[in-house]
């Protein structure tokens, strides 16, 4: 055993959490005795994982993208209206949805980097603009229908040797994840993290911070469009399909140990965070806990994960002082 997986800092905890949740699922749910149960879980988690990967690019470079939920809704509603049940329109509408995602990301990125508006505000504004525009266009009731070809990516499965039927969405997810990992290991990916960590240093060493940030937003938009295609395929047209997804994606990224404000965290951990979140909700449901608790759980996770990250090693030292730091001088007890 000479090869060891190279895990970035902060990846291990979320993988442990994920493993515990999967074991929990195996104990509680009879459907998780065999691979098909986990494939179904992956299939359902795929859109969120894809969104979380996109959100990771933006967060790690020091921004936020709050517009992805509205972008997903827009993608699904636009696709349904344009396809309107006709199979022949599928291909160009898919390309158009992807293009729309890139365009929205481009606008987010340009306004953030050129007009120097904080990304939180830009993307919040984009969320409202998209929401309003979609409402105006549809009047609240989406029209049209998706074709079977479009829905195949979110709903269908393909025969793979050994594994049997594997959902398309799982294959797409794996492809996106592999591409993201390769990208983050390359020079541009490393520069992206560095830009989130210390913008001035990157700039002084010749990095083009604006271009990196713009790229992050474009990738986030593109991945949101892919998530829209998966979600639309999974559950068909709905004007609520993207509601709250931006916060879910941010929760997932934070759960993956990625530092809000940028500069630290791995894309694998962000993806694992998204999968953990979906597994957690599935587990809670199997245990009979009300679905209404989902948002509360999300809130607790965000606060706890950020608190853990910002206190960092301090908390760990205080909780386990002896093991970690045997020579640490005694602290006066305050209580």
């Amino acid at each position: 055993m000479t090869w060891r997986p190279r895990l970035a800092e902060g990846t291990a905890p979320v993988l442990v959490v994920l493993l515990l949740l999967l074991v929990g699922l195996a104990i509680v749910g009879p459907a998780y005795d065999e691979p098909s149960g986990y494939l179904a879980l992956l299939k359902r988690a795929a859109p969120l994982v894809v969104l979380a990967i996109g959100q990771y690019f933006v967060i790690v470079s020091g921004g936020f993208d709050l517009s992805v939920g509205a972008l997903v809704t827009a993608g699904v509603v636009i696709a349904a209206r344009l396809i309107n049940g006709s199979e022949s329109a599928t291909v160009w509408v898919i390309l158009l949805v992807l293009g729309f995602g890139v365009l929205v990301g481009l606008v987010n990125g340009l306004v953030t980097t050129k007009l120097l508006v904080p990304s939180f505000i830009v993307t919040l504004g984009m969320l409202l603009v998209l929401d309003g525009a979609i409402f105006l266009w549809t009047g609240g009731a989406p029209r049209g229908a998706l074709s079977a070809g479009f829905r195949m990516f979110g709903r269908g499965a393909v025969d793979v040797p050994v594994l049997g039927k594997v959902p398309w969405s799982v294959l797409i997810l794996l492809a996106v994840l592999a591409a993201a990992v390769l990208f983050m290991r390359g020079g541009t990916g490393r520069a992206l993290v560095a830009a989130g960590d210390n913008e001035a240093a990157v700039r002084l060493s010749g990095g083009r911070v604006d271009r990196l940030r713009l790229l992050a937003f474009v990738l986030s938009g593109l991945l949101a469009a892919i998530a829209a295609i998966l979600l639309g395929g999974f559950a068909s047209v709905s004007a609520q399909v993207g509601d709250g997804l931006e916060f879910r994606a941010i929760t997932a990224v934070v759960l993956g140990g990625v530092l809000l404000g940028g500069g630290r965290g791995s894309v694998v951990a962000a993806a694992a965070g998204a999968l953990s979140l979906e597994a957690l909700f599935t587990l809670l449901n199997l245990l009979g806990v009300s679905g209404a608790l989902e948002s509360a759980v999300q809130g607790v996770i965000i606060i706890a994960a950020v608190a853990y990250a910002s206190l960092g090693s301090g908390v760990r030292l205080r909780l386990w002082p002896k093991q970690r730091n045997p020579v640490r001088p005694a602290q006066p007890e305050s209580s």
Binding site: G29, P30, A31, Y32, G37, A40, R44, F135, G139, G140, A141, P142, R143, G144, A145, R155, L231, F234, A235, S236, V237, S238, Q240, V241, D243, T282, N285, L286, G288, V289, S290, G291, A292, L293, V297, E333, S334, S335
Partner: protein
């Protein structure tokens, strides 16, 4: 040392609070939470919903079997057990009417189909020269100011579809004080100053239609999953209260009561979870059919037979039902009720009698009739019970 213990205690308390999902049952009641259903916990023999009203329940169930008065084949002009009242004081012969309409919102397909139907109804009557509409965008405060603004315009009659009951009551009363006839439809208000209040039979009958169907089609002891949109909305609470009442004495096992937010993806996820958790689901009850197709797809994608299911009269569900030969029923909250306020307003302005409470028939679509309601060329979210097929211009505006 003490600090360490404090952490343990706090952590323990948090964990406990997180585990006990049933806590908010009674405390949530004043803020409109649901009293009977606490998330996923089985509640077939749960206590009655606080929205359950035995007298109203009996009244609505009796309406279902009553013979409506009015022209055959035009249910929007029919009325159930009407108590006619005189409207001579509002009479304003001569035509040239300005009708004003304060709409709660047009933010869902049901209201869209209804509103389009109403607009076409207005076109049928040349004596209406102006039709002024203000959309409250589902905001109480906007609707209150909308109604005030309409009171100041030269309306011959004011039609109101209230956004919520209690908050809009004073606004409706103010509108009545202007002396113009006020017509309320869909949701009601707590006053009787309006010339007439138009509505289909109601939520109890809707919920009962679906629950009775499952009681008939699902074998005793069968597992039923109840899917609701959200708690606290009286129309929807009534539907569930009636279903809960019927399930309680049915021998069916309600394995879950879940809120879907009307979201197809969430619905599909919930149903998939329940298929895994229970192994088999024998019936699905829904308080509104918008996500029925997603529920059916969850069974199809899991590779199991689709059980008896309660939907609604939207085209996507009706098509799926007819194509797949589902065991299903579609209670309806008919969109043709949007025609009636216009008809009623003209009756009042001509001094004709109208019922104080105009109760419209509320049909349900059953398996033997479903093919009649499937309209292949209509959009998937179109409501079949619009009563609009014979209107001039159909189907253009509804597409």
């Amino acid at each position: 040392m003490t600090r360490k213990w404090a952490i343990v205690v706090v952590a323990g308390a948090l964990a406990l609070a997180g585990c006990s999902s049933d806590l908010p049952d009674d405390k949530a009641a004043p803020s409109g939470g649901s009293a009977s259903s606490s998330g996923g916990s089985p509640s077939s023999d749960a206590s009655k919903s606080k929205f359950f009203d035995q007298a109203e329940y009996d009244r609505q169930l009796a309406f279902r079997n009553a013979t409506p008065e009015g022209p055959d084949g035009k249910p929007w002009e029919q009325m159930l057990q009407p108590e006619m009242v005189d409207t001579a004081k509002f009479a304003k012969p001569g035509g040239n009417y300005t009708l004003c309409f304060s709409n709660a919102s047009v933010d869902n397909p049901w209201r869209q189909v209804g509103y389009k139907t109403m607009q076409q109804e207005v076109k049928l009557h040349p004596e209406i020269t102006k039709f002024t509409v203000l959309d409250a965008e589902a905001k109480d405060d906007k609707q209150i100011s909308d109604i005030q603004s309409l009171s100041g315009q030269n309306c011959s009659a004011i039609i109101i579809s209230p956004n919520t009951t209690a908050t809009l009551t004073p606004a409706v009363e103010q509108a009545c004080k202007t002396g113009v006839p006020v017509i309320v439809f869909d949701r009601g208000v707590n006053t009787d100053c309006q010339a007439t209040f138009i509505h289909p039979i109601g939520g109890f009958a809707f919920g009962a239609d679906g629950a009775e169907f499952l009681k008939e089609k699902v074998k005793p002891g069968g597992k039923v999953l109840a899917l609701r949109i959200l708690p606290g909305v009286d129309v929807l609470e009534q539907r569930w209260a009636a279903a809960n009442e019927i399930f309680a004495g049915s021998g069916l096992k309600v394995v879950g009561v879940e809120f879907t937010d009307g979201d197809a993806a969430k619905t599909k996820g919930i149903v998939t979870d329940y298929i895994q958790r229970e192994g088999q689901i024998d019936g699905v009850w829904m308080d509104a059919g918008a996500t029925a197709v997603a529920a059916v797809e969850a069974f199809q994608d899991a590779g199991v037979d689709v059980p008896a299911i309660v939907g609604e009269d939207q085209q996507d569900f009706l098509r799926l039902w007819a194509d797949e030969g589902l065991t299903a029923v579609a209670p309806t909250y008919p969109t043709y009720q949007w025609r009636t306020p216009i008809i009623a307003a003209l009756k009042v302005l001509k001094g004709e009698q109208v019922p104080k409470e105009w109760v419209l028939p509320q049909p349900r679509i059953t398996g033997d009739k479903v093919k009649e309601y499937v309209k292949q060329d209509m959009p998937p979210l179109h409501y079949a019970m619009c009563g609009c097929e014979d209107m001039p211009g159909y189907p253009g505006p509804w597409k």
